[in-house]
């Protein structure tokens, strides 16, 4: 099983709720990602990062242009074929979409559903069938002892890591992960990114993740996309993303960079007064 090849060709997209006159969330974007590539998407709020992931995840229909997964244009498929194609990708929204009264084990098993027949999947509700896999996935995020807990008994950070552990069980060849670190402290954030990258490499899946932690993106990812106002500002290897480029990308949004550098103290200082320190990871 190898990663999915992803292509965007002149794609323009708007938020579902936006009017036709408003400026598009993504503007005529052309992009190609090879199977097994690991890509981080950075940029200030409202740059279109989430929209980009939703487009690639066949969750949002572009108003113009073509989205291609493995040489197949997504929006020419029938509903049934499209649903099968969706089974080959894993899209994790920023806030983990877990039913609060569900147990962690079932939440994780739910990620396997596209690979299971209806009968096999219902067996998991009678008695969980793949507990060993679930424990292995949870252990990658230090959560193995939470397997029988209910989701609403977890802390925000634990819930987010459960959401990430789901990726490891999904029968997917493309991981689209939106802001995986928003509820994690810096140490956990580093661990989580390392785990995602390691597992993506081991499975050979294509990984695309949006990040607010610019330093992690540039240090850990071989390819970094800088997005601003729906346009691609740069597309470079992580180590070539200089602080000048970042300052340019985040111009007028400097406080977002600063927050990233010091997530723990960010609530105590007014953001505008903090100095900008970039690229020192």
């Amino acid at each position: 099983m190898s990663g999915l090849r992803v292509e965007l060709n002149g794609v323009t997209a708007r938020h579902p709720a936006a009017t036709a006159q408003s400026s598009p969330a993504l503007d005529a974007l052309t992009l190609s990602i090879e199977p097994g590539e690991h890509v981080a998407v950075i940029g200030p709020s409202g740059a279109g990062k989430t929209t980009l992931l939703q487009l690639l995840g066949a969750a949002l229909r572009p108003s113009q242009g073509a989205v291609t997964l493995d040489q197949q244009s997504v929006w020419t498929l029938s509903t049934r074929q499209l649903q099968r194609q969706r089974g080959r990708l894993f899209y994790a929204p920023q806030s983990p979409p877990l039913p609060p009264r569900q147990r962690v084990v079932v939440s994780l098993l739910a990620a396997k559903l596209p690979a299971l027949s209806l009968w096999r999947s219902l067996q998991n509700l009678i008695y969980p069938q793949h507990v060993d896999e679930v424990v292995k996935a949870l252990a990658q995020f230090d959560l193995q002892e939470k397997i029988w807990e209910r989701v609403d008994r977890l802390s925000g950070g634990e819930r987010q890591r459960v959401g990430l552990a789901r990726a490891l069980l999904a029968p997917a060849r493309l991981w689209l992960i939106d802001e995986p670190l928003s509820a994690l402290d810096p140490t956990r954030a580093r661990q989580a990114i390392a785990t995602l990258l390691r597992e993506a490499r081991a499975k050979g899946v294509t990984l695309l993740t949006t990040l607010h932690q610019v330093n992690l993106a540039t240090a850990e990812f071989p390819r970094v996309l800088g997005l601003r106002e729906g346009k691609l500002v740069f597309d470079l290897p992580g180590h070539e993303v200089t602080s000048e480029r970042l300052a340019h990308l985040y111009a007028q949004f400097e406080y977002e960079l600063a927050q990233v550098e010091a997530p723990v103290v960010s609530e105590e200082l007014p953001p505008a007064k903090r100095e900008v320190r970039v690229g020192c990871a």
Binding site: G87, P97, V106, A110, P114, L125
Partner: protein, 281 residues
């Protein structure tokens, strides 16, 4: 201090601008309510006319003491059990109809509306099912019972079928509303990752809404107990039929016993509902 200190404020900016609107809606409510009271001959003072008071007290006095002789209690117990059985069988049959209709009609499990608008065919199917549910519940169970008494003869079977049809319509409608007002993100996320609709129902929609669905179903079961009593008056068996007999004989003490049994049954349903909700919390 007066209730409406309007005159005290010469300055119009100090007056509550919502006041005239409030007066307007109060007048509108009175104008609508008055014809309704007239046409329903709502005259509460007739209760307190000497002649009527005498009849009422006489009727109520017959209720005391309730009939407690063993043969009658045994009969009441048997008929109460039959009433509960009619209600339970009817509700269960209604569930068998309502669950598939809910699954087909809810927009939460719509695959085509994952990306933009729902397609035409699924939309038409959902509307047709909605109309079917309206048809089922717009005919009161008493009318269904009168129909079925002619088809299957006097007895509990007519009551069961009558409850099943009406309640399928009610359950189907309210289940749909419960699912649609609940959290949608978990279901959307599973569908977007390629899970099937029934898989999504069991792994996300059901655990997310189990408490509300159970508590509404038990409340409907309680209503069905009441309904099956009324159905007894048209010959569908159970406690209602006995009550009809006792009333015809002007045997107030027997009616009183059956009413007490009735209060106990409804109280029991209430306890069961509380207990189930707590178990699912």
């Amino acid at each position: 201090m007066r209730l409406i200190p309007m005159a005290r404020f010469k300055d119009p900016s100090l007056r509550d601008p919502a006041w005239s609107r409030r007066v307007f809606w109060f007048v509108v409510a009175c104008v609508i309510l008055w014809p309704a009271l007239v046409s329903t001959e709502f005259r509460p003072w007739v209760f307190f006319e000497a002649q009527n008071l005498k009849v009422t007290t006489h009727f109520l006095a017959e209720f005391f003491p309730p009939a407690l002789n063993p043969e009658f209690l045994e009969l009441v117990a048997r008929e109460a059990w039959r009433t509960v059985a009619i209600a339970t069988a009817g509700t269960f049959l209604a569930l068998l109809f309502a669950i598939p209709l809910t699954l087909l009609s809810t927009t939460v499990l719509s695959v085509s509306s994952l990306s933009g608008r729902m397609r035409a065919l699924p939309f038409v199917v959902r509307q047709l099912i909605r109309w079917l549910l309206i048809l089922l519940r717009s005919v009161p169970e008493l009318i269904w019972a009168l129909v079925f008494v002619r088809v299957v003869g006097l007895g509990p079977a007519a009551g069961v079928l009558a409850i099943a049809l009406t309640y399928a319509g009610m359950l189907g409608k309210v289940y749909g509303e419960i699912l649609e007002s609940g959290e949608r993100e978990p279901a959307t996320a599973l569908l977007r990752n390629g899970a099937g609709r029934i898989q999504t129902f069991f792994f996300s929609v059901l655990p997310g809404n189990a408490t509300e669905l159970t508590s509404y179903t038990i409340y409907r079961w309680e209503c069905a107990i009441r309904a099956s009593t009324v159905l007894g008056f048209v010959g569908a068996g159970g406690l209602g039929q006995q009550m009809d007999n006792s009333m015809r004989m002007f045997n107030g003490s027997e009616v009183a016993t059956m009413l007490i049994v009735f209060i106990l049954l409804v109280g029991l349903a209430d306890l069961l509902s509380t207990w189930m909700r707590r178990a699912l919390q």
